[in-house]
């Protein structure tokens, strides 16, 4: 089991460019979560999917951020018109059921740097 896979591991974009981050959950897991980690804000929830359906996007910035889960094997987080304040490590996690009691397992993260 390779665990949760995230690509790319590092991404550098210029201000105003688009960034797409990829996540492959653990095989058989039906829920995918996205979090963001910065030194100032710590670990923050962004959004999550269960059985490919969006369940909660309450942590997503209202503009420029979007997430999708087109199939069971991957999810994407897209940031349009990136800004320096978007620089962070974006973490993806998966769980077997997406339920309250399901343990979450994290990927290595994608470090996004916006110049």
């Amino acid at each position: 089991n390779a665990g949760v896979i995230q690509t790319p591991r590092h991404k550098v974009t210029g201000k105003g460019q688009e960034a797409t981050l990829w996540c492959e959950p653990i095989s058989g897991h039906s829920a995918v979560f996205w979090y963001r980690q910065t030194i100032v804000q710590g670990l923050e929830f962004l959004t999550y999917f269960r059985n490919q359906a969006p369940i909660d996007d309450s942590g997503m910035p209202k503009e420029r951020f979007s997430a999708q889960m087109p199939n069971q094997s991957h999810s994407t987080l897209k940031i349009q018109s990136t800004q320096p304040q978007d620089s962070a490590v974006y973490l993806c996690a998966s769980s077997s059921s997406g339920g309250y009691y399901a343990e979450q397992f994290f990927g290595p993260g994608t470090r996004l740097t916006v110049l």
């Binding site: 979560f33 269960r50 369940i55 909660d56 309250y100 009691y101 399901a102 979450q104 994290f106």
Partner: protein, 109 residues
């Protein structure tokens, strides 16, 4: 809103000493998850505690949900234990996690 508070914020030990990390939470969460993160590394799940005490190797986690607290005990610390330890609880009835600010542990030889 719900909060998770960890203490101490940082801890420096000599190899061989024991460590006690605390996590207090404001909600009536009925489960808690402890994570370890090496600098630049991924969050590794250490314990997933509905309640009670769990052991793995030199680590022991004790969670008392009705008192809204959990502790992580590291015995005979090693330099490889250095890193940041986070606790997290689900927010409300949702599966999304709220994290504490972490305890940064440094173990020197």
């Amino acid at each position: 809103g719900q909060q998770v508070q960890q203490s101490p914020a940082s801890l420096v030990l000599q190899e061989g000493e024991n460590a006690e990390l605390q996590c207090n939470f404001s909600s009536t969460a009925t489960r808690l998850q402890w994570f370890y993160q090496h600098p630049g590394g991924r969050l590794v799940s250490l314990f997933y505690n509905p309640s009670g005490t769990k052991h793995t190797g030199r680590l022991t986690s004790t969670t008392v949900t009705n008192e809204r607290r959990s502790s992580l005990h590291i015995s005979s610390s090693q330099t490889t234990d250095s890193g940041t330890y986070f606790c997290a609880i689900p927010q409300g009835g949702s599966a999304k996690l709220i994290f504490g600010e972490g305890t940064k542990l440094t173990v020197s030889s």
